[in-house]
Symmetry: C2
Subunit: 324 residues, 2 copies
DNA sequence: CTGAAAGCGCTAACAG
DNA sequence: CTGTTAGCGCTTTCAG
């Protein structure tokens, strides 16, 4: 941890950067390297950051790092960033605009080189602010159609449509859709993708994010009490899917016999359900990788403006198979 | 983002620190604060860190941030750290000593004020090194009995014992134990807590961490092929529990009729299983909170040496109820 | 090729 | 009360 050496000034720069310019004789090079090892020299990244105006740090803002979707993405981002020498500092927004704003300020003060953010509702201002001050950032998962900026997301509309089509092809007639009551565009695209295929036949339950269990129960109870009860439910989110399955269990409704189910995102819970749950699988690895790469490109060329849209895969299993 | 003001030098220090010493007249105070707002002054945390020799950053090293146990802990740590003005930089060790070493070096270079680490196997050297250089750190979840240092963990021995006792009380006679083949002390304590109650009656399966599905299947198959087949299985980890349940499902073994199950740690999957799974519940919030608090205390007083051991709770549900 | 010096933005110390 | 200065550890620049 100590430094102090007879060669202070350019030693560090040399040892670390192998600079061509200002070449140093081979013997002194060796001597310096040896000295660095002997003294267990450890560069002070902070000092370097201050002078370079670059911290090699990415600020990651997710909804909640404890949510599997967020943490899986975080893991990929960690790995991908690390390959390029970047570290990741993270924060959870809890879907709150105010927390998002605080985290952005904080990370900005900490001089992160760029952001990867899953923006909550009503944070257009924050996105605009980042654009305005010209700091590199990429929106992941969520995005604002009215703000053109770097963005990595899935094709939400067709992802939902594929789930509904699958249910229709498997003989389901009356399909319930469970989604959040939200202004989040990506979720509304999922809703639209589903409804466009169903028209008036669609039953829609809109769940308040802070009353998930309660509202999901109410929505499904409503679906089942319809004159023509639903024979399938599509959930637009993993949390909603889990909540929905719990409620169906508590009602002793048989999946898929009475109600078929298609969920969104992957979780172990889907495998363990007595009828393994069909779901829309997001390309997590690609999402994370593309986000980091796009950010790094933007750090290099701040004028960049690119949108990456990835396709999903429908994993069909027992929870939605054809009725016999 | 720009600074530049007529009051450069002590403005910043004052505005930010509200220092008592070197008091400033009220009017100039107001003027300075106004100027800070007008210029949208944002302190440069990096510069401050360099001079203060303090980054207000905690390095968190977990096994894998994508694992729910890690990410739940990370979330608590984030919140708790934030209350004290700290940010969290994280890395996943993948249970590899080499990755752990790299991350420690990296975070050290980045001048973190302290570490919270879930040490993998064979990283005693790393822990010793941290002790030796005198940087504050606390071990979480995992620890080395031979290294006295700050540590927050659960009482693994009695946690496992409580699970076994519960199974015995519910009429189970032959209990299988599924755990990792590992040098990790906390897992071996769980094993010991279980075996001490069972003696020769225990059937033990030791799973290689990189062959979980395969080895779990083999272990359980073995349990069931015993002259006296097991009527219960205790899993020492959430990943093992999930793998075990999947395999039992594939065998069409009925839980709890044929085999009772107690798992470790919580996950949504346990709720959705047709027989909600009993499990040893770790006090996640307390674990995270204590870890941060202990670290902060150690940052204040580096001579501190404290071990916090927390108790677990057995959540008994249908997967292990009394046979009728 | 190698020393010396400046400066990144901040805070602490020391004079006015 | 307020202005000036030095220095955190690094890299870049400018002289030798």
């Amino acid at each position: 941890m100590q430094r102090r050496s007879e060669y202070r000034p350019r030693l560090v720069s040399y040892v670390l950067n192998n600079k061509k310019e200002g070449r140093i004789s081979k013997e002194i090079t060796a001597k310096i390297k040896q000295a660095a090892i002997d003294l267990n020299y450890q560069p002070n990244h902070i000092a370097r950051s201050l002078q370079a105006q670059k911290t090699m740090t990415i600020g990651l803002i997710v909804a909640d790092i404890a949510n599997p979707f967020s943490s899986q993405i975080a893991r990929i981002i960690e790995d991908e960033a690390q390959k390029a020498g970047y570290s990741v500092i993270f924060g959870s927004s809890d879907e709150k605009a105010s927390k998002t704003e605080k985290l952005i300020k904080l990370f900005l003060n900490r001089q992160v080189d760029g952001f990867i953010i899953a923006f909550p509702e009503n944070t257009q201002t924050q996105a605009q602010y980042l654009k305005q001050i010209g700091i590199p950032f990429v929106m992941i998962d969520r995005y604002f159609p009215e703000i053109t900026s770097n963005c990595v997301s899935i094709n939400n509309y067709s992802a939902a449509a594929s789930a509904i089509n699958h249910l229709l092809e498997n003989g389901r007639r009356k399909i319930g859709i469970v989604t959040y009551a939200t202004a989040l565009h990506h979720l509304n695209e999922r809703k639209r993708g589903a409804i466009d295929l169903l028209g008036d036949d669609a039953a829609v339950g809109e769940i308040r994010i802070d009353h998930v269990a309660e509202d999901v129960a109410e929505a499904i109870a409503g679906f089942l009490a319809l004159p023509e009860p639903v024979d399938a439910v599509f959930f637009s989110t993993n949390l909603l899917t889990v909540a929905g399955l719990k409620y169906l269990n508590s009602l002793n409704v048989k999946v898929p016999d009475q109600v078929a189910v298609v969920g969104f995102d992957e979780t172990d819970a889907f495998d363990l359900f007595y009828a393994p749950v069909s779901y829309v699988k997001q390309p997590m690895t690609d999402l994370g990788r593309e986000a980091v790469n796009l950010l790094l490109e933007t750090i290099d060329d701040s004028s960049l403006q690119k949108s990456v849209t990835l396709d999903t895969e429908l994993v069909a299993r027992q929870s939605s198979v054809l009725l016999r």
